[in-house]
């Protein structure tokens, strides 16, 4: 599905995209390809969902907002309904289904991103009201490490 050039693009462009007049041309030159080819490839990687996005990644805390991990225990019979309810909130930045190696029944894990710290509590209450289920927020008390760049293996 992706070839060697796609892999090189993803590996090289997970950060440090230039801020200049023609950033795609500059990034393409570093990869030894043309600007058009880079733009076409990025569009295709987005269309095929190999990339979920191309652009800035924000740390909302640094602009006064908050990112908070939260979890729910969703009964299987209600799964589809609750996914729809939770995903409909724009404050839900991403959401994963998870299964435990043991018997933990927290099976829905999502991240809330809001413009103010107070927005988190409000979103939690609205999700609880809309879903009829408790939401457990897990705010970070301390960040030891974050580095999301992964080398392509596919």
């Amino acid at each position: 599905m992706i070839d060697a050039l796609d892999r090189a693009i993803i590996d090289r462009l997970q950060g440090d995209f230039p801020i200049c007049e023609q950033p795609y041309a500059e990034a393409a030159a570093a990869l030894g390809i043309g600007e058009d080819e880079l733009i076409t490839r990025l569009q295709r990687l987005l269309d095929t969902r190999v990339l979920t996005r191309f652009g800035p990644m924000f740390q909302v805390e640094r602009m006064g907002g908050a990112f908070v991990l939260a979890a729910m225990r969703v009964p299987e019979a209600e799964w589809e309904r609750v996914v729809e309810v939770v995903n409909a909130f724009p404050e839900v930045a991403h959401n994963y289904r998870r299964e435990s190696a043991q018997n933990c029944d927290f099976n829905m894990w999502f991240v809330l991103a809001t413009e103010t710290p107070e927005g988190i509590g409000a979103a939690v209450r609205r999700i609880e009201a809309a879903s009829g289920l408790p939401v457990f927020p897990f705010p970070k008390l301390k960040e030891y490490f974050v580095e999301m760049k992964l080398a392509v293996r596919a």
Binding site: C20, F54, M57, Q59, H94, N95, R97, W109, L150
Partner: protein, 161 residues
């Protein structure tokens, strides 16, 4: 948003949170949308990057699509007085992509140290989790690994909706 981000910064965030325009002069296109000079867009982007409001600019891959089909959130119950030292050591492992101290939710949730591990298979992730367990030794009172089985949503930040 507070005083650290003025209204124009906020509009710049809203204009780029879905992605940069895929055109030869993306910052010029944003400038047109916002009604400000391109030089100002670029200066603001640089400032947001320097101040950490923007963590980085580039490709955000779908982990599954680039070969990381196993993604395990390992969670650990460790003594509170030891967590900062242990968190720093676990976070420094080359295969840990995120490492945080988070609150317990007793009685349902006894774990306080979260370390995300990505791999091509569950066995690979579990082998890495075993290395964390080894490193924690007697400081690990209980642990679990929660594997993601489906991405339900992944849009990133969406303010102003």
């Amino acid at each position: 948003m507070n005083t650290s981000a003025d209204d124009l910064d906020r509009r710049l965030v809203m204009a780029t949170q879905g992605g940069l325009p895929l055109v030869p002069r993306p910052y010029h296109q944003l400038a047109g949308q916002l009604g400000i000079p391109a030089q100002e867009v670029m200066a603001r982007m640089r400032r947001l990057l320097d101040s950490g409001v923007i963590r980085r600019i580039g490709a955000v891959p779908n982990h599954y699509a680039i070969g990381y089909t196993a993604n395990g959130m390992s969670v650990w119950d460790v003594p509170d007085e030891r967590i900062d030292e242990l968190g720093a050591r676990i976070g420094a492992l080359e295969f840990v992509t995120h490492c945080y101290h988070r609150p317990r939710k007793l009685p349902e949730w006894p774990y306080s140290l979260f370390a995300m591990v990505h791999g091509s298979s569950r066995d690979e992730v579990l082998a890495k989790v075993a290395r964390i367990a080894e490193l924690l030794g007697a400081d690990c009172r209980a642990h679990d690994v929660l594997f993601s089985t489906k991405i339900l949503k992944k849009t990133g930040l969406r303010i102003g909706a």
